[in-house]
Amino acid sequence: MYPDDLKYSKEHEWVRMSGDIAEIGVTVFAQESLGDVVFVDLPEVGTNVEQFAKFGEIESVKAVSDLFSPIGGKITEVNSAAADTPEVVNEDPYGSGWLIKVELNDTAQLDELMDAATYQATLE
C-alpha cells in the first residue's frame, strides 16, 4: 500500500528519487478518498514550484483537491497519460499514475518528508 522506497508528504503525495529528479504522485489513500479520478490539472514543463506549494488540482466526480508538491524545483516532465486517461491515477498511483517530475534543488527538503511507516501511522 505504501512502498518503502518512497517518501510521503502530509498532503498525501509521494516522491521517488532517481538522481536529482523527483517523481511525484498521489498515494493510494488519496485516490481512494477521491473516488474515480476524472481530471488532473497539471502545470507546464519548465514552471518552478516551491516545496509544499500548490502545483495543480485533481478532480473526481464529486470532489476537487489541490495538489501540493512535496519538494521544490523546476518541473522537467508532466505525465500526459494522467491528463488523457485520468483513471490511471486510480489504477496505478505509484507507477504509471505519476503526475510530475521535479528537478530537486535542495536535498535537505527530503528530510522534511515521511517514510512509509510514519505516513501510514498518520492515516490511522
Binding site: 476524472v38 481530471f39 478532480e59 473526481s60 466526480v61 464529486k62 470532489a63 476537487v64
Partner: protein, 447 residues
C-alpha cells in the same frame, strides 16, 4: 401572544388533523408544539402576522382576474411593437400541453439521475438545440436569462485569458453591461467601451462583448470583430437573438469563443420580464470554465443509455468559493419550453418564422419611412427591430398611441435622438402594421 399547537380548521394544502398532530406530539414525547420551540427567544415567538385571512380558490380567481384586467395586452385589445430583449411570438399548443405534466413541473434538480431521466434527457436535448442553432461545440443546460448569461460569459473570458479588462461594444443593450457591472463590481474587473466601428483595441482585453443583432436591431460584422479580438489575444463573446438564427449565419461559423442569448423568444411568454432562460455555448476547449449545469450522456450498469449531471466540480456545491459561478437553481423548466418549441417548429418552422418576422418588420419600416416627419434610421441589415427617428419626443407619441390602444416601440431618445425602437414579429398582421402606421401619421402631424 398565542401559543400551543394550532387547532384551526384544516387547509387543503395541510393534511394533518388535530388528532394526528396530538398522536405525533405524543410519539415525539412532548405535550405541545411549544416544547419544540424553546430555542426561540420567548419574546419573539409567535408574532402576529398582519396578513389577511386565507381565500378560497374561487375568491383567489376573482382577485387575480381583477389584477389581470388592469393590464393592457393583446387580450384586452392592444397591439404592441415593443421588443428590446423580450419578444412577442406565438407559442404552440405543444409547449403548453407538455407544461401541464406535473412530472416535469414538480420535479427537483436531477441530483439523483436514476429518478430524473426525464428532466435530464430534456436538458440534453436542450443543449443539443442550443448547439445546433448557434453552431457551437458545447452548451450548458441554461442560465437565468440573456443578460446574466452575457455577464457570466465575459467573466469566463476573464478567467480563460487571465486578463481583467472586459471590452463591450457600444452598440449593445445597456441591460447587458449593467448586469455585467453588477456581477463584476468586486472582482477587480474594468469594463471598457469599444466603439462599434473600432479597427483597433487595447491589447489587454479579455474579450470583446458583441450583440448581434445589436440593440438597434442591426446585424454586426461578427467575423471582423472576432478577428480583431483574436489578433489581440482576446476572446469573442457574442450575444445573439435565437429567432434571427433561423435566417442569419450562426456565430459558430465565425470562430466565436462564447455565445449567449436570451431564450425567451423560443416559446416562453413575455410575462412582464420573467422567468426566462439564458442560452450559453462555447468552444469545447473552454468547457471546464463554463458556468451552469451540464448534462452528459453515459451508460448504466447494464449498458443502457442514460443521462446525468456532469463536470459538477465546476459548480458551487463542490468547489464553493472557487466555483465558476454561484448559480444553483436556474431555469430548467423554461429550458423544457424552449426544447419543445424548437422540436415543434423544427427545421422548416424556424426558417419560416425568421422569414415572416423579417418580412413584416421590413414592410413596416418601409411604410413608416414614407411618413412625413418620420425616418427609419437603421442602415445596414436589420432583422425584426429598427430605429425610427420621430418628429417629436417618442414618449409623447407613445402616449397618443396608447389612446388608440397601440403600445408603441421603446423610447431610446437617450441613445438616438428622437429615436423609437420598433419591433415587428409574426404576431403582427398586415392590418396591425397598417393601423400602427396610420396612427403614427395622424399623431406625427399633431403632436
Amino acid at each position: 401572544m398565542a401559543s400551543s399547537a394550532h387547532t384551526s380548521p384544516n387547509h387543503p394544502y395541510i393534511p394533518s388533523t388535530d388528532s394526528e398532530r396530538a398522536e405525533m406530539l405524543g410519539a415525539i414525547g412532548v405535550d405541545s408544539l411549544d416544547a419544540l420551540l424553546e430555542d426561540i427567544p420567548a419574546q419573539h415567538r409567535h408574532p402576529k402576522l398582519n396578513l389577511a385571512a386565507g381565500l378560497s380558490e374561487q375568491e383567489l380567481s376573482t382577485v387575480f382576474g381583477s389584477i389581470a384586467a388592469e393590464n393592457a395586452s393583446p387580450s384586452s385589445g392592444y397591439i404592441s411593437f415593443l421588443g428590446a430583449g423580450s419578444y412577442s411570438h406565438y407559442i404552440p399548443s405543444t409547449v403548453r400541453s407538455i407544461l401541464q405534466r406535473g412530472e416535469f413541473v414538480t420535479a427537483y434538480t436531477p441530483y439523483q439521475p436514476e429518478a430524473a431521466q426525464g428532466t435530464l434527457q430534456v436538458g440534453f436535448e436542450f443543449q443539443t438545440i442550443v448547439c445546433q442553432l448557434t453552431e457551437m461545440e458545447v452548451a450548458n443546460a441554461g442560465m437565468y436569462d440573456g443578460p446574466t448569461a452575457f455577464a457570466e460569459a465575459c467573466l469566463m473570458a476573464a478567467r480563460v485569458t487571465k486578463r481583467t479588462k472586459i471590452g463591450v461594444l457600444s452598440s449593445t443593450d445597456k441591460r447587458l453591461s449593467d448586469t455585467l457591472l453588477a456581477y463584476s463590481k468586486y472582482q477587480g474587473i474594468e469594463i471598457v467601451e469599444v466603439a462599434a466601428d473600432a479597427t483597433d483595441i487595447p491589447d489587454d482585453l479579455a474579450c470583446i462583448g458583441i450583440q448581434s443583432p445589436n440593440f438597434f436591431g442591426e446585424i454586426e460584422d461578427v467575423q471582423r470583430l472576432t478577428k480583431l479580438a483574436h489578433d489581440n489575444g482576446a476572446l469573442s463573446v457574442v450575444h445573439v437573438n435565437p429567432t434571427a438564427l433561423g435566417m442569419f449565419k450562426a456565430p459558430g461559423e465565425f470562430d466565436v469563443d462564447i455565445v449567449t442569448a436570451e431564450g425567451q423568444p423560443l416559446g416562453v411568454p413575455m410575462a412582464f420580464g420573467g422567468p426566462y432562460v439564458g442560452l450559453f455555448a462555447c468552444k469545447k476547449a473552454h468547457i471546464r470554465q463554463m458556468p451552469g449545469r451540464i448534462i452528459g450522456r453515459t451508460t448504466d450498469t447494464k449498458g443502457r443509455t442514460g443521462y446525468a449531471l456532469t463536470l459538477q466540480t465546476r459548480e458551487q456545491h463542490i468547489r464553493r468559493e472557487r466555483a465558476t459561478s454561484n448559480i444553483c437553481t436556474s431555469t430548467q423548466l423554461i429550458g423544457l419550453m424552449v426544447t419543445v418549441y424548437a422540436a415543434t417548429l423544427g427545421k422548416q418552422g424556424m426558417k419560416d418564422l425568421a422569414s415572416l418576422c423579417y418580412q413584416k418588420a421590413h414592410y413596416a419600416a418601409a411604410e413608416i419611412n414614407k411618413l412625413d416627419g418620420y425616418s427609419v434610421k437603421s442602415s445596414g441589415t436589420f432583422f425584426h427591430e429598427f430605429v425610427v427617428t420621430c418628429p417629436s419626443a417618442p414618449p409623447k407619441i407613445n402616449e397618443a398611441l396608447l389612446k388608440k390602444k397601440i403600445i408603441g416601440g421603446l423610447d431610446i431618445s437617450d441613445r438616438s435622438e428622437s429615436g423609437m425602437l420598433v419591433c415587428v414579429t409574426e404576431t403582427s398582421s398586415k392590418a396591425d402594421i397598417d393601423r400602427f402606421v396610420k396612427a403614427l401619421s395622424e399623431i406625427g402631424v399633431s403632436a
